[in-house]
Assembly symmetry: C2
Homo-oligomer: 153 residues x 2
DNA sequence: GCTTGACCTCAACTTAGGTTGAGGAATTAG
DNA sequence: CTAATTCCTCAACCTAAGTTGAGGTCAAGC
């Protein structure tokens, strides 16, 4: 459906974003970018894809998984190039998530303080590993970081 | 070297900690517990191992990797059962690490705020993905969460 | 017009933190 | 004494986020 012929090659995108070529292909596989192909079957990117991929890098630094990022990208417009406002909206979403994660981590840290020296570490009653309120700590996050394990569910 | 005959079986440890038997064996493989064996080759645990494993669970909730936990366990006494003071010392270490991580995440969050709406997301100059000061964000942590990737490097 | 470099696909490997299953041996209950 | 559990080891599999390499094609410079 895109008609733009002759955009940027994957190598040029790699240079401009700092990503490895293999990573860019991988992100495509994960549905994070969707380049055209030229007559010879090589990928051709638009300039807007640089921002898209940069955003992936930033969101990853913030601790989000590729599938969380993909989910947010679903909010971007289909037909047109995303505007600054489109990106800002997504950024705000990630900001809110991050706030929640920091709050969860801070709460956990406070509990640890209460537990230090109390000797309760081996007891099930210890509020540090009561599974009940685990949800409080995980935003919508790298779950394996704060409780859930990927395979165990 | 340990002479204690007839301690707890792996199933009993699993019941008391809430861990899966397979996970307990895995933790042994990772050097986090070191049970005796009975005449028939079955694992026999001491009561102190319950606390050890509980501590592993807590530290994991706090976001630490098994190898970080193993490293801290090296500080525990060899010949005797660890005391409350021994555990408190380790807890304080994890508390300090956690503080550092929270600080790193908070700093990142602040930067995101500055970036929202500034439109710089695609630029290399964006301080949100300047690789230079990455070390500030990673404590000694799940590095793959905040920048480094395990395979890359 | 051909050679070099960039690109293509596909499969296998990596780390972390385990789970699942096969095939067998030990322990416990009755 | 036997049957049912529990336990043993070992190998294969899982997710996430990629990398590495093999074998082959495309595009660009001279």
């Amino acid at each position: 459906m895109k008609l733009k012929a002759s955009g940027l090659s994957i190598g040029q995108i790699a240079d401009r974003t700092g990503l490895a070529v293999s990573a860019i292909r991988f992100y495509e596989e994960q549905g994070l970018v969707n380049p055209d192909r030229n007559s010879g079957g090589q990928r051709r990117y638009e300039r807007a894809d640089i921002r898209r991929l940069s955003f992936v890098m930033i969101a990853q630094r913030l601790g989000f998984t590729l599938s969380e990022i993909r989910a947010q990208f679903a909010a971007l417009p289909e037909g047109r190039t995303p505007t600054k406002a489109d990106w800002s909206k997504i950024s705000r979403h990630f900001g809110a998530e991050l706030d929640a994660r920091i709050a969860g981590l801070t709460a956990l840290r406070d509990r640890l303080d209460k537990c230090i020296g109390c000797g309760c570490l081996s007891l099930r009653q210890c509020h540090l590993y009561n599974r009940q309120d685990e949800a409080a700590a995980n935003g919508q996050g790298p779950r394996y970081l704060l409780g859930d394990t990927p395979g165990a569910g």
